[in-house]
Amino acid sequence: MAVLDKLKLWGLKKAPWVYHVNTGACNNCDIEILELLTPRFDVERIGILLVPSPRHADALLVTGICTKQARPRLQEIYRQASKPCLVVCVGACACTGGIFHDAWHFAGPVDEAVREVDPDAAIIYIPGCPPKPEAMIAAVAKALQDL
């Protein structure tokens, strides 16, 4: 069994597919995420693909503060994703609420919303407004090493 588990882990490390969830971002982080797919950064060379459905995802890239409207939807998407599935909070807003932490439409940071569904969820934080693409690649690489 040990060999099988190692093989699974190898696959997960070599082919993390990501699904992009926008929970009320200003679009700046989203632009930086799309930057990762361009020739300059080309994350496909380390096996990362942007997939169209949470069913295919190994990681949810969450951008933006969790608004009241987006919170139940984010939780539903996390339930729909096939596990094991990481949650990556991209940007200051997703990590803490950022400059919107006192806003009326703020429904708690992303990690709290996800932990409500699954207390053991693996969550990665990438601060920055927006984080640089290099920072995102570094964060994903570190997270995969720790798996």
Binding site: W10, G11, S82
Partner: protein, 311 residues
């Protein structure tokens, strides 16, 4: 080689050889695509890593889905394609094929992945998958007729034989017959683009529009099987074209050099078509197959029949 040894070899190569070469071809497809877009592209083990990872993931089945059909459909597609693969390999490695009419059987089994995908998507209970499966059905209606019609020139040229091994060893004679072969091969090339579900004929998946369409609800091992089938098709369809139209897979003497070159030529055409075209609307795709590809296939079969009537 005895007949039994040949059959065993065909089964082993047909399943494991096709899987290995299919994954390799998937990598070639992704790397060439990346190079066209000025990217570096994934490493050579990437398709294998994808499959292994998906095998270790959870299988999610939604409440609206009909579980058994949803989960068995990819297995059905895989099984059907394995049969097609064994038939093609049997023709490639030995002249004495145990089954007659194997051209028709091969064409019949090559449509299995699409049918299985339609079955699985219809059982998934997802509205996007429903739209996708409708498009896949329309595509099948569009491309099956020209595919069958394009089989006429090789059948006529080999003296009305339906055996792949005999068709493989038949060479077109005379200008008219060569023209009919080329036209029919072009038709099958267009059809294989649609069978593979790649741009311009990826309406059933349409990632930017249907978010995956027929594949939307699949996760874990069933998705791995579907991706594996895609890879196998990427190898089998060029092999089918080579066997029927282009002298076959001859692994003797110069064949060791020319056969891989033939594969490379067909794959490059498929990848270039996929990277230089936008996705067609489904009605445009249907019009393309019915009003452009089908008349060309009819013309090709008419030419070859005429040539034989005159001779």
């Amino acid at each position: 080689m005895s007949a039994t040894a040949q059959a065993v070899l065909a089964v082993i190569l047909g399943i494991f050889g096709t899987i290995a070469l299919g994954l390799l071809f998937q990598w070639v497809d992704r790397v060439v695509t990346a190079r066209i877009q000025w990217r570096k592209g994934p490493p050579i083990y990437q398709p294998l890593a994808d499959i292994i990872k998906l095998m270790g993931k959870e299988t999610v089945v939604s409440e609206a889905a009909s579980e058994k059909i949803f989960l068995y459909a990819p297995v059905l597609g895989f099984a059907g394609l394995c049969v097609a693969s064994v038939i093609l390999w049997a023709a490639a490695i030995g002249p004495g094929s145990p089954v007659g009419f194997d051209l028709i059987v091969a064409v019949y089994f090559l449509v299995f992945p699409s049918v299985a995908l339609i079955l699985g998507a219809s059982a998934s209970g997802n509205p996007y998958a429903a739209v996708g499966l409708g498009r896949e059905m329309k595509l099948i209606i569009g491309y099956e007729l020209p595919l069958i019609l394009a089989m006429v020139p090789p059948i006529v040229a080999s003296g009305n034989s339906f055996r792949l091994a005999e068709i493989m060893n038949t060479r077109p004679e005379g200008a008219l017959e060569i023209i009919s072969y080329v036209l029919a091969a072009l038709c099958v090339l267009a059809v294989s683009q649609a069978k593979l579900g790649v741009v311009p004929f990826d309406q059933a998946e349409a990632e930017t529009e249907l978010t995956g369409g027929v594949l939307l609800e699949y996760s874990g091992p069933p998705l791995a099987l579907i991706r594996l089938v895609r890879g196998m098709l990427l190898f089998l369809l060029p092999m089918f074209i080579i066997i029927v139209f282009w002298g076959g897979v001859q692994l003797v003497g110069w064949g060791w050099l020319t056969t891989p070159l033939k594969f490379v030529a067909i794959i490059v055409v498929i990848v270039l078509m996929r990277n230089t075209n936008p996705r067609l609307r489904i009605d445009q795709a249907l019009a393309f197959f019915w009003f452009i590809v089908t008349p060309i296939a009819v013309l090709a079969s008419a030419l070859s029949v005429y040539q034989h009537a005159v001779r």
